[in-house]
Point group: C2
Chain length 135, copies 2
């Protein structure tokens, strides 16, 4: 059961193949994410991961792990503070800030950390509902 | 060139195959999105689209159409006000609220409308940077 103060951590990495598939499924073919030559002429020097692909780790965690199956998304805020790259170790850290048991709702801080640099790359907050797991 | 007050509209629809592919790429296998039997026992009665898949239309538009190629995401807020379903006509409506020319940044209201019901299903706001297209 979800309680205020709980923390859930999840380690992950993306590959360029996953970035390419995400571009295909969503239609976001911005060359900043796909084309090494194009990206070489940007301040990032190499392709960066779509913000929405990075942030989708929150959707995965909230919908399958914490709280898990049956979670309904109500809100998600994201600040993309630093670029994310493929083949780089990241950790998502979710912390439960508030629980409204009678409404089956929770407010959860959702951050992504660059594990090597120990810096926040995405900072955000989610609001979710889950009738079975938040009560 | 992006100016305050500009509006960009984009019509779209998702298929269950796209939902399934999105689940595979992101790892969000929440049965609420994939399993008609599971969804039949929820208030939605049928599978709903992942909030992040619906919202990814903002990433597609901002990164490939308006402003387009080279756009860097700085922030995205989303409120999932109503469920989204497959085979349903939606329209994304983006309205430029503020432009900071010297920083190549724009604040853009990002909404999704259910075309038949004429109701907002996702309400949000994005902040983006594009050195060539916002100046």
């Amino acid at each position: 059961m979800i309680e205020a103060g709980q923390i859930y951590k999840y380690s992950f990495t993306f590959t360029q193949q996953e970035v390419d598939e995400f571009a295909r499924v969503t239609g976001d073919n911005n060359p900043l994410h796909l084309d090494a030559h194009y990206a070489a002429n940007t301040p990032f020097k190499k392709p960066i991961i779509h913000g929405f692909l990075g942030g989708s780790v929150f959707s995965k965690i909230l919908g399958t792990k914490f709280p898990g199956e049956g979670t309904v998304y109500l809100k998600q805020n994201m600040e993309f503070l630093r670029p994310m790259f493929v083949e780089t170790p990241y950790e998502a850290i979710l912390e439960v800030k508030e629980v409204e048991k009678e409404k089956n709702k929770a407010l959860i801080q959702t951050n992504i950390i660059d594990v090597s640099a120990q810096k926040i790359v995405v900072r955000g907050e989610a609001s979710v509902m889950n009738k079975e797991k938040i009560q």
